[in-house]
């Protein structure tokens, strides 16, 4: 899948951080979402119970996914929906294209779909002469800049309003130098209105697919998903296989958790239930695997599929906030991205499980209780087992392992290290090859180790 070139997170992060004031700004914007989450969640006395319920429901779903998917398909079909199965990104794109071509669609409006980003649907359609317009403001901005999302809930969080002003001035002829969010939003709205009026089909992502009803639920704040789906006869909803929930009543758990975890809102402005085609129209649901069932088969890692894409782990991640979404090289960045991507291509994404201090904030905030930090740790073991660990690191650590498993060797080696640190000239210990000493001093070496002191004074 994709190029074999490994993602170098550390190098990308280094570049991002080189602009320190921008890094601070990025950190603050993302942290703001997390702070709002804390306020929103604190207002729900049974918050931790909701998390346990959500986790339990998702465990049940993952354990019985085949049955739920079939139940969902049956009920959706009974509602008059056409259900398609896509094994991978390519077949997803092919299915969507063939539906659109059958209806001679020239302009497709799209909303709320990280899955189509994952499948790279836009370039695929554009190559076939179909215009695609992402209608959510953030997504429209990155589409106009020809970029991917840097965050799953706030895809343009890395872009400043001044830059949006410039972009709109260039492409939408808005006033030069405009930075007022309200004005800029209005510019986008007018621009999008024209697209809505001229589109021939609408495509949305799916937050929840209810097995017992065959309906899908799409949660948005801007309402564009509804605008699109209501304007035109042809509507398409694309979902990963893990979006299933068993019952309509389970929404009572997930809708309360999703928006609060994402932005602190009690609920998204729109929670739209799409159940059947409108009169004279067509409704299609494309169910996509694209590596998910393989992931489901991995005991240690399967529960990464419990993710409801709220973004809270990103907002909580001290590394993501300072390295930016692009440093992860994948549509879903941050902690959850770092445990999903190694499953797709371990060689390519082998660095991502190491792009973490294992601080555990992600697991503690996750509304479905995914043990993200434990999985990062486990993926590190896999990287070593599959022989993808950096060789210099491995050799150094192997030597350390050998020394540390024997008290005698340890005592000899540590005496040597203390001697070296103490007596070697500073240029040898503080140089550009020593990553520790680039911005930090090495610890000062005391006269004697604890062990020496103990032996002299206590034995």
């Amino acid at each position: 899948m994709g190029s074999q070139k490994s993602i170098n997170h550390a190098a990308a992060a280094d570049k991002f951080i080189a602009n320190e004031s921008r890094t601070d700004w990025h950190n603050a914007s993302v942290s703001y979402l997390r702070k709002k989450r804390d306020v929103g969640a604190a207002l729900v006395p049974e918050w931790e119970t909701l998390r346990s319920l959500a986790s339990g429901i998702k465990n049940n779903v993952l354990g019985n996914l085949d049955q739920y998917l079939e139940q969902f398909e049956k009920n959706a079909q009974a509602n008059g929906v056409q259900v398609h199965w896509a094994v991978d990104a390519e077949s997803h794109n092919r299915i969507v294209t063939s539906i659109l071509e059958r209806h001679k669609v020239k302009l497709l409006v799209k909303s709320k779909s990280m899955l189509t980003e994952e499948c790279h649907l836009n370039p695929h359609l554009e190559a076939r002469g179909i215009e695609v317009v992402d209608t959510d403001l953030g997504e429209r901005i990155i589409q106009m800049r020809d970029e991917g999302p840097s965050h799953i809930v706030a895809p343009a969080i890395h872009i400043k309003k001044e830059e949006v002003g410039e972009l709109f001035h260039d492409q939408l002829q808005s006033e030069a130098g405009a930075t007022d969010p309200q004005y800029l939003t209005e510019v986008a709205r007018q621009h999008l209105r024209e697209k809505f009026l001229n589109c021939d089909a609408a495509l949305t992502g799916v937050n929840f697919a209810v097995a017992e009803t065959g309906g899908v639920v799409v949660c948005t704040n801007e309402g564009n998903a509804d605008m699109g789906a209501h304007m035109v006869p042809l509507q398409i909803h694309c979902m990963g296989i893990e979006k299933i929930i068993p019952r309509q009543q389970d929404l009572g758990v997930f809708l309360r958790l999703l928006a609060r975890s994402a932005t602190g809102q009690p609920i998204t402005i729109y929670s739209s239930h799409h159940q059947k085609p409108k009169e004279g129209g067509e409704m299609h649901i494309v169910i996509v695997d694209n590596g998910r069932s393989k992931h489901l088969g991995r005991d240690t890692f399967r529960n990464a599929l419990k993710c409801i894409r709220c973004g809270a782990c990103m907002n909580s991640c001290p590394v993501y906030r300072r390295s930016g979404g692009y440093s992860y090289g994948y549509t879903v960045p941050g902690p959850i991205g770092s445990i999903l991507t190694p499953g797709f291509n371990l060689e390519k994404y082998k660095e991502l499980p190491f792009a973490s201090t294992l601080c555990g904030a992600c697991s503690a905030v996750c509304p479905t209780k995914i043990n993200i930090d434990e999985q990062l740790y486990k993926w590190r073991q896999k990287v070593y087992e599959e022989d993808y660990l950096d060789k210099t690191k491995e050799t150094g650590l192997s030597v350390a392992g050998n020394v540390l498993s024997s008290a005698k060797k340890y005592k000899r080696a540590s005496a040597l290290m203390r001697w070296a640190l103490k007596w070697m000239p500073r240029f040898m210990t503080h140089n550009r090859f020593n990553a520790w000493a680039k911005k930090r001093e090495l610890p000062e070496v005391p006269g004697e180790s604890f062990r020496d002191w103990y032996r002299k004074n206590r034995k």
């Binding site: 905030v365 740790y377 073991q381 392992g401 340890y410 911005k439 005391p446």
Partner: protein, 250 residues
């Protein structure tokens, strides 16, 4: 208080042994003050975490066995590092779970939890007339649950604060981000040098802004990282391990 019948082994992590012997001494004296009989097994080396966190759990197994052999016969193993305690109790699940392995995993305590949960210390006789900021190390906070993290929607508690409240004349400062990670992360500190240093800088800045004179923590590794930045930048703040403060004279 007397806990002389309890046989406690003191585990001094390798980097503390080498660079911060005063922390080992303070831990030892503090435990003795609290009435424990403390032994320092000479065969000890390391818990294996540096290797395992780098993905080399397999290669760390001989270290795990050596650790179990060294500490297997004690009632309690106490370590002035939440990170090491977390590693032994949570990650020694990859070796055969013999009786002694299970015992070691259950009887290893970070010194904070040992003082509050096993010895139930209520007074200390310590005095530290300074403004102090607590750096809640992540393995202590979210790993061993020594305090409530800001993610958790439960009643707040903190075993670190509980102990520091017993120190006379010590003033705890309020931080803007009470539980942001400092960015040490073991080999992360070198592999992700840029992010690590930036995180450390931001962390120290929060303490500086709050008016703290000292940053304290139950994990010397976090403090070593922050101290490296403090000394390089000549910032007016110092680091001290929690046990150094708890072991001061009243």
């Amino acid at each position: 208080m007397s806990h002389q019948s309890i046989r406690v082994a003191l585990f001094v992590p390798c980097y503390v042994d080498q660079f911060y012997p005063q922390v080992g001494k303070a831990a030892l004296q503090l435990l003795e003050k609290c009435g424990c009989t403390v032994d320092y097994p000479d065969e000890q080396t390391c818990c294996g975490q540096p290797l395992a966190n780098s993905g080399m759990e397999q290669a760390a197994k001989p270290i795990y066995h050596h650790f179990v052999e060294t500490f297997g016969s004690y009632d309690y193993i106490v370590v002035p590092s939440a990170s090491c305690a977390y590693h032994v109790s949570h990650h020694y699940d990859v070796i055969e779970q013999t009786e002694v392995v299970k015992k070691v995993r259950e009887s290893i305590y970070d010194i904070t939890a040992f003082l509050t949960d096993v010895l139930h210390i209520e007074s200390l006789g310590a005095r530290f007339p300074h403004k102090v900021g607590i750096h809640q190390s992540c393995h202590g906070l979210r790993g061993l649950q020594l305090a409530r993290s800001t993610e958790q929607m439960i009643d707040p508690y903190s075993k670190w604060e509980h102990l520091l409240h017993m120190v006379s004349d010590l003033e705890l400062v309020q931080l803007e981000r009470p539980d942001e990670c400092c960015g040490f992360g073991g080999t992360f500190a070198v592999a992700e040098e840029a992010v690590s240093a930036k995180m450390g800088k931001d962390r120290v800045r929060d303490h500086l802004n709050s008016g703290a004179e000292f940053i304290t923590s139950g994990d010397m590794s976090c403090l070593m990282h922050m101290e490296g930045l403090i000394r390089r930048n000549k910032w007016p703040i110092q680091v001290k391990h929690l046990v150094e403060i708890l072991n001061t004279d009243g």
